[in-house]
């Protein structure tokens, strides 16, 4: 699916991760972070953050920070660029896992986007649906 998203927000930060096929950017207005595959020129994931994000940074797989978090290095070798942090107007550091499939102890939320032809922009909202596990068979 191809669509032009250049008019839906102001980019406030971009961060590349060397050695992998992705980078992330944050949109201040929409309070989202988007991870892109720069080889395919396609977005991998859009993450709502509910905060005006000012900066985003990937966390390297060998970082002491991840080790202190209790994240096994063996688990993230196959999923490089899986972890990143964000900071913004709330003044707190948040650490995110890009791949939701490698963890079952937190519940993902389902988000929808709707393109409004009147105002010519994408509108986002979330449902209150929570899932018992991250398996795709529970999405419906």
């Amino acid at each position: 699916m191809n669509f032009d998203i250049s008019n839906i927000g102001i980019y406030c930060g971009v961060h590349f991760l060397c050695g992998v096929t992705g980078y992330s950017e944050c949109m201040e207005h929409l309070q989202i972070v988007t991870a892109w595959d720069i080889r395919k020129y396609s977005s991998k994931k859009t993450i709502p953050t509910y905060e005006m994000i000012e900066a985003v940074s990937f966390i390297g797989s060998g970082s002491e920070l991840l080790a202190c978090l209790g994240i096994e290095l063996a688990n993230i070798k196959e999923k490089a660029a899986s972890y990143f942090l964000t900071v913004g107007e709330r003044g707190v550091v948040r650490i995110w896992c890009l791949e939701r499939y490698n963890s079952l102890y937190l519940h993902p939320l389902l988000f929808f986007a709707y393109f409004c032809s009147t105002c010519n922009q994408w509108l986002f909202w979330s449902s209150a649906v929570r899932f018992a596990c991250s398996s795709s068979k529970h999405l419906m």
Partner: protein
């Protein structure tokens, strides 16, 4: 009309309290952090605040096994007007700086 469905990523950690100082007069204009970068060689994380402070964090595990980001250094990048200075501490190893901000800083 087009619909897209997004599944969120997981927030695995969030600081419970902010280390960004709050100025009550300009609270509405405060913007928290403006930048963050991972330091090389496992030196931790550097965050920059809207009032031009540099906050250095290192990852740490508490005694009860929970993860936290420990603030180990704070550099004041902008003092505005310095009104008074005073050496403090038993050996006067610290310097307290009173500015026209609400906080007293020391180094």
């Amino acid at each position: 009309m087009a619909f897209l469905v997004f599944c969120s990523s997981l927030c695995v950690f969030e600081q419970q309290t902010s280390d960004v100082t709050v100025n009550s007069e300009n609270e509405e204009t405060r913007r928290g952090f403006t930048s963050a970068v991972m330091l090389p060689n496992d030196q931790g994380l550097l965050c920059v605040t809207a009032d031009q402070q540099f906050l250095f964090y290192c990852p740490k595990r508490t005694d009860d096994g929970t993860f936290e980001l420990s603030l180990y250094r704070r550099l004041i990048g902008y003092n505005d007007e310095i009104l008074d200075l005073k050496f403090v501490g038993e050996e006067e190893q610290y310097l307290a700086v009173a500015t026209n901000l609400e906080q007293v800083s020391y180094s």
